[in-house]
Symmetry: C2
Subunit: 221 residues, 2 copies
DNA sequence: TTGTAGTTAGTAATTGCTTACTCATTCGCG
DNA sequence: CGCGAATGAGTAAGCAATTACTAACTACAA
């Protein structure tokens, strides 16, 4: 990989100029590793490359991690910790309208997914590499949204505002639609998705879905 | 990778038992390579592994391909040739109903995507590996469906049966929803998608979408 | 004898990882 | 206060194994 961007330590740190403290270095390594693992996958990212991108020798990686695999798992766990969508969902009003619920979910997925492309790319990398963290990352990324919408759809059916659709299939479908937008923007962006606009996408797609599940006349668009 | 499945040649072929003809061997190598590249990606798949899975030595690979990269490009091109959805779309009646159009597209994507998981996995592998074939495979996999639905939606708007939704965004959203099902079944199947049922998915999701874009009262469910 | 399909034994380069060492800073003791 | 020891962050050099790939050779059928 050419043109590796080297993140060097700050000047005036502990001792020699350019040196980082141990924990600073560890954080840097994890940050740089996340980027490279997300872009190239686990195997295609070499420890030489990781070290070079951090501006240190390979041995430094092994001062902080037992091996490449532990570094990868650490990256995945940290990314998982960053992706906690539950507080956001819990902050939504419990009597949220159907339209607002779908809009909020779509907006959040797009905000997070587009704001931090590494999430989805690391999920792919972890899944392909067969990492045990992959499933956790997958579930932490999707499950809260799916559960939230499933609940809201069930309540809508109970209250007569939603047709008897399958709540699980419907929630998954909508989450899938939004995640596909994220996937295209993050992974396939050079294949013709440079024109993606979040607001346009939400404005167009959310009403389609909400009208599609609503009992006739119950929900205005 | 343990437990590599070896495809040995047939007994009673040319000359020595177990030997294949040149073209048979080439086809076998491509088939086996498709499977391994799809599962592990380009870099993580070694030529040693490829040869072992074919039951030959590595040098045989180089009797048929100039190198690993050429083999990969060959795999991608062949898969692209296998994925030709245009004939199917062209076989659909030109006055197809909205519901039938969406249903046909969803059915086809699911049939192909689930019937041949390698398509999507190779697309991912090619994209991550930065292969020039990746964009072609991406477009050949998605563009025909997107174009077809976009056209049908435009006609629906013109004819007053579809609300003034954005045809491109809407088509992409629906294709995305279906492709996400395929992605989940193919890549994330061990994370809780073993229960996917194609007919249920279509029966639930297609009407939602069609009702969502239809002018009120124009389309029954 | 020739052609075909294959193998063996190798190459140079790369990989993940280790170890002995360096150097600057800090600390503690006399 | 000065000096030596300890510490922390890092490097250079190297390891064994693996990698993509090659060249010379083998064996058998036609």
């Amino acid at each position: 990989m050419k043109g590796t961007k080297i993140e060097v330590g700050r000047m005036g740190g502990p001792g020699r100029a350019g040196r980082l403290t141990g924990s600073e270095r560890r954080r840097q390594i994890v940050r740089v590793a996340a980027s490279l693992f997300a872009e190239k996958g686990f195997v295609a990212t070499t420890t030489r490359e990781l070290a070079a991108a951090c501006g240190v020798s390979e041995a430094v990686i092994y001062k902080h991690f037992s091996g490449k695999e532990e570094l990868f798992e650490t990256v995945l766990r940290q990314k998982m910790a960053e992706v906690d969508v539950s507080p956001y969902l819990e902050s939504l009003p419990s009597d949220i309208s159907l339209l607002d619920a779908f809009r909020a979910v779509a907006g959040r997925i797009l905000d997070i997914g587009l704001g931090d492309p590494l999430i989805q790319k690391l999920l792919l990398a972890a899944t392909i590499a067969g990492s045990p963290e992959a499933q956790k990352l997958y579930l932490s990324w999707r499950q809260p949204f799916t559960d939230f919408l499933e609940k809201r759809i069930r309540r809508g059916i109970d209250q007569g505002e939603v047709r008897p659709v399958d709540p699980v299939l419907t929630a998954r479908a909508f989450i899938g639609l939004v995640n596909d937008c994220v996937l295209n923007c993050n992974l396939y962006e050079r294949f013709g998705f440079g024109d993606f606009n979040k607001e346009n996408s939400i404005s167009n797609n959310v009403p389609i879905f909400v009208r599609g599940i609503a009992v006739d006349g119950k929900i205005g668009s």
